[in-house]
């Protein structure tokens, strides 16, 4: 199968006016403006197969949104190329736009004063969805998202979580094959986040849609994405499975041991991070885990021992920090 999204050496540079703080500097910059080139995206390449759900990660300012904007045709790349479904996004071919959608968690697409149901009619015309398809798509989305009672309420009266759900329904009315989701769960409470997450998973399963998702919530990524593309300072720093990321970038494991041994005795094996009445936690290098486990079990009385990977957030923070 050929990739549905192909990105090669994609670059986006911005010229940003610079000036020092202060009134005089502000006036100076009016006359003689100095520019700084910001390399928002600096040579990103990846391929995505149809039906994949990709977690697109990176710290703030890493170039995630800029990349998504280039893929959805909003921004013209400075150099490099990208194709989605065989189209060049920035040409904004209507045939392409009909097959993709862009959802931005921080930006509203619904009409504020109207019930969501009314806005859906507009989407139907804009995407020329046939009558039978429209009803079917709408029913499916209303059911998947549990929108029933929300459709007739003015959007301004919906909670943030409810609004995001209706945003999703609106953005998917034309049954797009490619979904670009920029922070779709931002600001939502845990329950609403979970709903949206489940919905994205089900939509992907049901229609085989390809999803490129950015999120700062690792729970989203863990639940949905088998593969992760991580960028930092505009370049890809990791592309692979989540498990592999942990393997590669988490050099240590935490061992929690319930034992009669003392803290000092355990400190021989690794750095003690926690000591709580017979339960001692130590940090051990990954490669040493089998040897250390054997040594502890041989030398001390142990009632329970467990080995854990560090939290994914910690691993990612470590990658960002490199």
């Amino acid at each position: 199968m050929s990739p549905i999204i192909h990105v090669e050496q994609l670059r986006k540079y911005y010229d940003v006016p610079i000036r020092d703080a202060g009134f005089v500097q502000a006036v100076k910059s009016l006359v003689n403006r100095q520019y700084n080139t910001v390399k928002a995206v600096d040579g990103v390449s990846f391929d995505i197969e149809p039906g994949e759900v990709i977690g697109f990660l990176g710290p703030n300012g890493a170039g995630k949104t800029t990349t998504l904007k280039m893929l959805s045709g909003l921004l013209h790349p400075t150099s490099g190329s990208c194709t989605v479904l065989g189209y060049t996004p920035f040409e904004r071919d209507y045939a392409y736009l009909r097959q993709m959608t862009l959802v931005m968690g921080q930006r509203n697409n619904l009409l504020w004063d109207l019930p969501a149901g009314d806005t859906f009619e507009l989407a139907r015309t804009i995407y020329s969805v046939a009558d039978t398809d429209y009803q079917r798509n709408k029913d499916a989305l209303v059911e998947l998202l549990g929108l029933g009672p929300l459709m007739s309420k003015p959007v301004r009266n919906l909670s943030l979580g409810e609004r995001m759900k209706t945003e999703f329904a609106l953005s998917l009315m034309h049954k797009p094959q490619v979904l670009f989701l920029d922070e779709p769960t931002i600001g939502l409470d845990i329950t609403a986040q979970k709903h949206i997450r489940q919905f994205i998973g089900e939509y992907n399963q049901r229609y085989g849609a390809t999803v490129l998702l950015t999120s700062h919530y690792m729970a989203d990524v863990e639940a949905l994405c088998k593969r992760i593309v991580m960028i930092n300072h505009g370049v890809v720093v990791f592309d692979g499975a989540l498990a592999e990321l942990v393997n590669r970038y988490a050099p240590s494991r935490t061992m929690t041991v319930q034992t009669t041994a003392t803290r000092a005795e355990m400190a021989v094996y690794g750095v003690v991070t926690h000591d709580d009445d017979g339960t001692i936690t130590i940090k051990v290098a990954k490669a040493d885990v089998p040897r250390v486990t054997g040594a502890i079990l041989a030398a001390h009385e142990v009632t329970d021992i467990s080995i854990n990977e560090p939290p994914i957030e910690d691993v990612i923070a470590q990658v960002y920090g490199r």
Binding site: K12, G73, L75, R92, L97, R98, L102, M104, N108, T125
Partner: protein, 262 residues
Amino acid sequence: MRRSIVLAWQYLRLAVMNELQYRINFVIQIFLTAISLVTALVVLSLVYAQTDSLGGWSRYELQALLGIYTILSGVVRTSIQPNIERLMTDIQKGTFDYVLVKPIDAQVQISIRELRVWHCIDIVAGAAILLDALFRLEVSVTFGEVLLFGLTLTLGIVLIYTLWLLMACIAFWVIRVDNIFELFDNIASAGRLPVDIYPRWMRIILTYIVPMAFAVTVPAEVIIGRINLTNVGIQAAVTLGFFLVTRIVWNKAMVRYSGASA
């Protein structure tokens, strides 16, 4: 094209449904329209108590022109201004992105999304003043003149729309341009009077730089029976010219928005 018309119709329907919720706006709007019209009519009668003719226009001819001006500003407040304002906030908030990812012409989209239904009152009031003036002038209007009037009025609306959009396009280069609209509003209010009464330099500005003369004066000339086909022809040419220029600038603005250097 058909899709654009259906979409415009749907937006209209939604706007009507939406605004029916706010009946108080209706009352306020009637009140505001009444005040501004009464003021204008009083000024008109005061002026004509001193003189019979202003730049060759009699009192009721000028009232007809006032009626057309009111109709046009009603169209601006009902549709053009709210759409352009929405465009500005969309650009500032970044929601303009949603316009660009939709498979329908962006300029069409941004031109039909908003409608302040209650401002239609201005259009109705303007039509009433115009009819009253025509009645008092005792002009007999032929069917052909009505058609030509409709055409020149439509051209006037298109011309004003392109001027608004042209200025809004500046927002793609400079993010805050609210003040420009204020300036434009002031210049546009010069259209309240026929261009003939202004000094020569101002007539040139009003005709060629901010062509309000064409938007208001030409339809007025037609309906009061002073048809000047040269003016009608120039109006059509200027409108078409501005329309094309606006389209070119709009396309440039889109290129600029997407940050393409070419």
